[in-house]
Symmetry: C2
Subunit: 328 residues, 2 copies
Amino acid sequence: MSREVILAARPQGVPQESDFELREVADDAELADGEVLVRNVFVSVDPYMRSRMSGIRTYVGPYEIGDPIDGGAVGRVVASNYDGLAEGDWVLSQLGWREAGVVEGKRVRKLDPERAAPSTALGALGMPGFTAWLGLTEIADVKEGETIYVSGAAGAVGSAATQIAKLKGLRVIGSAGSDEKVEWLRSLGVEAFNYRETHAREALADGIDVYFDNVGGEQLEAALSALRPFGRVAACGAISRYNDQKPESGPRNIGFVVTKRLRIQGFIVSDHNARFADFLREVGPWVAEGKIECRETMIDGIENVPAAFAGLFHGHNTGKMLVRVGPA
Amino acid sequence: MSREVILAARPQGVPQESDFELREVADDAELADGEVLVRNVFVSVDPYMRSRMSGIRTYVGPYEIGDPIDGGAVGRVVASNYDGLAEGDWVLSQLGWREAGVVEGKRVRKLDPERAAPSTALGALGMPGFTAWLGLTEIADVKEGETIYVSGAAGAVGSAATQIAKLKGLRVIGSAGSDEKVEWLRSLGVEAFNYRETHAREALADGIDVYFDNVGGEQLEAALSALRPFGRVAACGAISRYNDQKPESGPRNIGFVVTKRLRIQGFIVSDHNARFADFLREVGPWVAEGKIECRETMIDGIENVPAAFAGLFHGHNTGKMLVRVGPA
């Protein structure tokens, strides 16, 4: 038997632990041809999952009540009926919030633990890092010498975006919600500020060329004011708004888009999977050489996945939030 | 002697006639080498002039109190000290709100009255038409078969945008503020609605691929809701907001930018002057062949320029608003 987390109720506002339930399931089914049994070690909790819980179809279908939450997970193969994978192999799958599961071998990515710690496949070398790299390159088209502002800079995507931007020769300003996070960002060479204490308007008074938006709301408004002519916004997410029960006001200064000829572009990483190899080619070596610090906030136990997830919206993570659900 | 309109006070809210003054000036100065004396026939009033009256530097410098209002004007050369121009020639200049003026010959564009009515150089074949064409091609990258929504569709830019979009094979929805304008737009093949009677939300319920924004405010919010995934907004202007004394709320649904991967791009036509010849090559023949209808709202007399200008913000124009300040 193994355990998994299912959606018990659609969250109203900030997700509560009562919106989820732990369930025991059998995991001794016979493997069909091409299938593998994976025991998860690290389970990912990501802000984008919040909108899938709302029952509204956006760019991915919603989670259904009573179903387990799928999403990124890293684990080890314990039994294989697939040629390319053997017992003990590390793999990235979409098995999500469960201790173990059966999946088609061709639908997982084999990881080389010699090249990078397997958990980085959920962070700097996975979806969050790829999102950061795409937003900087493909969407915002950043150039050496420019100034970029990254909100949510201590999060999984934000901390990758700030560090990649530094490596690409940009001046990087970042915001986060605690002094500890700010200190960490400063140790990475980021001009960081605590948005709970300093208004972004002041922190960005010198002007910026690019805004990498992870939070929406007030930070977007401040960034629109600070952007220089021909500035770009890579609109990646809006964590400050995901739990809104009804929409608040939008950016009152949206008129700057015309007068300053700004470009605001939204993107979803899964539209760009064809670029993943290009991403790994550029960012992989930086992680291997330690030029990108892969900070993780690690929680233990499958039963704590819902709390870890809810913690994202309270800023409980520095770097990538992960839950360790089993031994390596 | 000739007359000109000067800025007497910075408008607060909607411009009033008292914000302007008529002044008599001498126009018998000796022409220097390379100069021409032009007597204006048509003077242009354009929404973008409103922001230059506010004293805030945006993409062009502000008008100064006591100075004449410069801007597009079409007139005839009455004396020339410039090789390329002779008495009687039609020219487009930036002489603005005055009956006559001296200008360097190299800074005007000679017009051929056989090819198109000279006043079209201020409308469909001038800045407004170029703006429409640029927004559709360069900024929104429209494709045959797509659906576009144009707000302010009966205005100078809007009526060019709707007609060019039709000629490029798009389905065109347009809004305007009176039943007469709506009827005119329908005669052009536009699916038009009166935004004072029908909410854009309803009119756009089928979805759109592109929004050509001339007005901002509520229409932008409705368009963000109606845009399909990968939709584009060509942000051209926000006439509904130019007279705001303080910013109102912004689009509450700005979060759609991420979930639907929208691109909102502001532009100013003067950044793209290198494309003007391409524009004329494509749109010139359409105007010559009558495939684009160049509707004008003509007011008479230099003393009525301020009222004509203020009328733009009350929707008094159908097509291009012009003031005839002298005989042809």
